[in-house]
């Protein structure tokens, strides 16, 4: 398939780099201020080298990537809240041209799920968004395979940064601020970690899962989620949990129509108490008990592999 990749951050770059490995051709690549377009396939290595040297992928305007010749648009620009722009507009533009859309950007399906689905119905094309929940882990495709009808609840650890901080605090008996600084040095936490440690990122993923499980009966947005973060958890809380054979994890839950994210006590040896940046999702199935999916929930190549798996699921246009 011919792919237009919007966004040249960690995920967009990896998609462009790995596309050939999956048998696809990148015909356009754009960052926020420029684009490079070639109907026969762009030189990905050259575009990324230009990006590193000059800060832009090419000399065309970003809009040129949207207008390019492609079968599927990969939307990997940063997640935005509220109206989810400009990501939502990119989805709209592709669907109006009857081009498929694969999202890595959580905004459109977390904040405007019904709008995205309505546009998809009007289009001859499809929207897939496996990469928006749990990086490399096949969460949404597993839900689709089981049929949302037969999944009664989902819960899990969906933010590697928060999980890294909690695991380090418990293992080393260190305070939150200390471990956060360490995580920032390691590149596990961003300079502004708010999105991760206050639970917003995990909540967006849960909202997306809630939308998929609701099958259109109800639309969820971030406002419907009850969210608490981990920044006010002192080391003494982890210590008390440990004395009782437990640990604390930032758990996101979708059950009985509610979306909740917050610190929870989890038995130390339970499947949910993954350590480090690892993520896990548990699905409660109607006929098959509990299903655990665990793996890397973030990272360029990891998330790109989920994007490219979605591209592989798309029907030929």
């Amino acid at each position: 398939m011919k792919l237009a990749v919007l966004g040249a951050g960690a995920v967009g770059r990896s998609v462009a780099e790995l596309a050939a490995d999956y048998g696809h051709t990148v015909t356009a690549l754009a960052d926020s201020s420029s684009a490079v377009v070639d109907a026969d396939g762009i030189d990905v290595a050259d575009a990324l080298a230009t990006k590193d040297e000059e800060g832009t992928v090419g000399t065309d305007a970003p809009q040129a990537a949207l207008d390019a010749d492609y079968d599927a648009l990969v939307e990997a620009t940063p997640t935005t809240l509220g109206d989810a722009q400009p990501g939502f507009g990119h989805v709209e533009a592709a669907l109006e041209r009857d081009r498929h859309v694969v999202l890595a950007n959580k905004g459109p399906v977390a904040e405007r799920y019904a709008d995205v689905r309505a546009l998809e119905r009007e289009s001859a094309s499809e929207v897939l968004f496996e990469a928006t929940v749990g990086g490399a882990m096949p969460v949404l495709s597993t839900i689709a395979d089981f049929d949302p009808e037969h999944i009664t609840a989902a819960r899990g650890v969906l933010n590697g940064t928060a999980n890294f901080i909690l695991s380090r605090m418990a293992a080393e008996g260190l305070g939150y601020e200390h471990v956060l600084a360490e995580a920032q040095d390691l590149g596990v936490a961003e300079a502004d970690p708010t999105f991760d440690v206050e639970g917003t990122d995990a909540a967006l993923k849960c909202v997306i899962v809630a939308n998929v499980l609701a099958q259109g009966d109800r639309e969820y947005t971030l406002d419907d989620a009850e969210v608490e973060g981990i920044s006010s958890i002192p080391g003494s809380a982890l210590e008390l949990a440990q004395e009782d054979g437990h640990t604390v994890r930032l758990i996101g839950e979708v059950a009985d129509g509610d979306v909740r994210v917050g610190p929870r006590l989890v038995p130390e040896n339970a499947a949910l108490s993954v350590s480090g940046t690892r993520n896990i999702v548990q699905l409660e199935t109607e006929h098959a008990g509990r299903l655990n999916i665990s793996g890397r929930g973030a990272g360029g190549p990891e998330t790109a592999s989920a994007v490219l798996a979605d591209v592989g699921r798309l029907p030929e246009r």
Binding site: A237, E239, D244, H246, P263, L265, P267, A270, A271, L272
Partner: protein, 177 residues
């Protein structure tokens, strides 16, 4: 993928039996039939609960999944389960509170939780490594009547909001692993 669902663990189940012949045997069937391995049975024949029932404590081994089946089967057979090993079969729950616990009157916090929900604080552990003037944490074990765990949690959240405390809740029902 994790295999911890297949690990056999030890559980304790406390039941209240009606004082009638054959009740104990009837209570053991759902355990054996659902793959539980009985370890010990403590039958307090002389000890009657306020409701006139006889408390029985059963230790058993099972995988978490089979244990869920055992609890369900006991409920289906109309046994009153006072406490089951894992966190929240409605009747006992553990939470951790953090914040300025001592400055905000910990004993008031505890009595508020008990009064609002008729829950009983059965265990309390306090950790204040920075001294009681600073942020500290408390682990509380609450015993509630069957089906009242959510009310107890709501009361905990309410008093926590009022006093600007952080609550670490147990996983909700079914989320024991």
């Amino acid at each position: 993928m994790s295999d911890s669902q297949d690990e056999v663990r030890a559980y304790t189940v406390r039941l209240e039996l009606v004082d009638e012949p054959g009740e104990l045997l009837r209570a053991l069937h759902p355990i054996a039939d659902n793959g539980g391995n009985l370890l010990s049975i403590f039958h307090e024949r002389g000890n009657i609960t306020p409701r006139g029932h006889i408390p029985v404590e059963v230790d058993l081994e099972a995988t978490p999944e089979r244990f869920d089946g055992i609890v369900e089967a006991l409920r289906d057979a109309d046994f009153n389960i006072i406490q089951a090993g894992a966190e929240r079969y409605g009747e006992a729950l553990t939470i951790v509170l953090s914040g300025h616990l001592v400055n905000t009157d910990l004993s008031h916090t505890l009595s508020h939780i008990q009064e609002a929900t008729e829950a009983t604080v059965t265990d309390l552990a306090l950790s204040a490594p920075e001294g009681t003037e600073d942020v500290s944490s408390a682990r509380l074990r609450l015993a509630t009547e069957e089906g009242k765990a959510d009310d107890a949690l709501a009361a905990v959240r309410e008093v926590a909001t009022e006093k600007d405390l952080t609550v670490v809740e147990p996983l909700t029902a079914g989320g024991d692993a």
